[in-house]
Symmetry: C2
Subunit: 154 residues, 2 copies
Amino acid sequence: MTPTATATATLSAQSGAEASLAAQIRSAGARATPARIRVLQILRTAPAALTHHDIDLALGTLTLDRVTLYRVLDWLVEAGLAHKSTDARGVFRFSVAAAGEHQAHTHFRCDACGRVFCLDAPPPAPPRLPAGFSLLRIDLDLRGCCADCAVQTA
Amino acid sequence: MTPTATATATLSAQSGAEASLAAQIRSAGARATPARIRVLQILRTAPAALTHHDIDLALGTLTLDRVTLYRVLDWLVEAGLAHKSTDARGVFRFSVAAAGEHQAHTHFRCDACGRVFCLDAPPPAPPRLPAGFSLLRIDLDLRGCCADCAVQTA
DNA sequence: TACTCACTTGCAACCTTGTTGCATGTACAG
DNA sequence: CTGTACATGCAACAAGGTTGCAAGTGAGTA
């Protein structure tokens, strides 16, 4: 780490976390650009699966082109660092991929605020399928009202 | 066009099924229009959940405006006669609603051909939710390879 | 049967989400 | 420091879905 003084100074505040993310990105075989670092950081700290729009807002000062964000997200998914699914509105949502096993996934979507939460629920027992069908993945999609919205309506 | 004679004649062929559908639509509190009858008929005979586009093609001679089809489908869902869900591509798919209880639903989506099948699987046991969350609906989303595609790739 | 009116339909325009092609910029290896 | 392959931004496009409004029609009523 030796380049310009200012760059080092600005980075030093969060250098620990960022350096870790950057290293992870490089080890996946890509360049550690601000866009990728920031998006991965946002996904890491998000309590729920985010839409492209959510992430765009979360970027704050670092404005990325729509297309770039799509490409970053696609790369994250391809690199196995993120998970992509669709919500009930038909919009893609992204969340950090749990290391390794991600065969089963459980989402809770709040009908009131629209947020999607990734739950650590145990995978449900696979049901009996018609003859000839083979199962690769199970997504359990729960809907209802989240704690925050339950408080507000009470 | 001569109204009474020809119209009655053409209808008489399928009058049994159509009259039943029409009655069902009226009992839901709406007018039994050709559009609604036809769409409901298509959904009834479909083995899988259909996209807006699928239904548009299935309409054949009776061409409906895109918007009208969307509105008919939305009405069917609102009336409880159809069920709306999204596939992996983020496109809405429609299927006939099982009479009455539709709290839980199971879909199987084939990754190869993209078709979506509605299964009569028993509702999975609701998992433990974080405090304050309330559950209204469960969708179990299975993915893998359907029987047809398994045969083709074999 | 004829009338009437609210419910439906069709059309046009628009929005959101997501993708593709190409020129420019930049991370990082040498 | 420099060159190059990878990233980014811009513009244009495509599909899916929605909204507003004028015209058409089902079905109850006289």
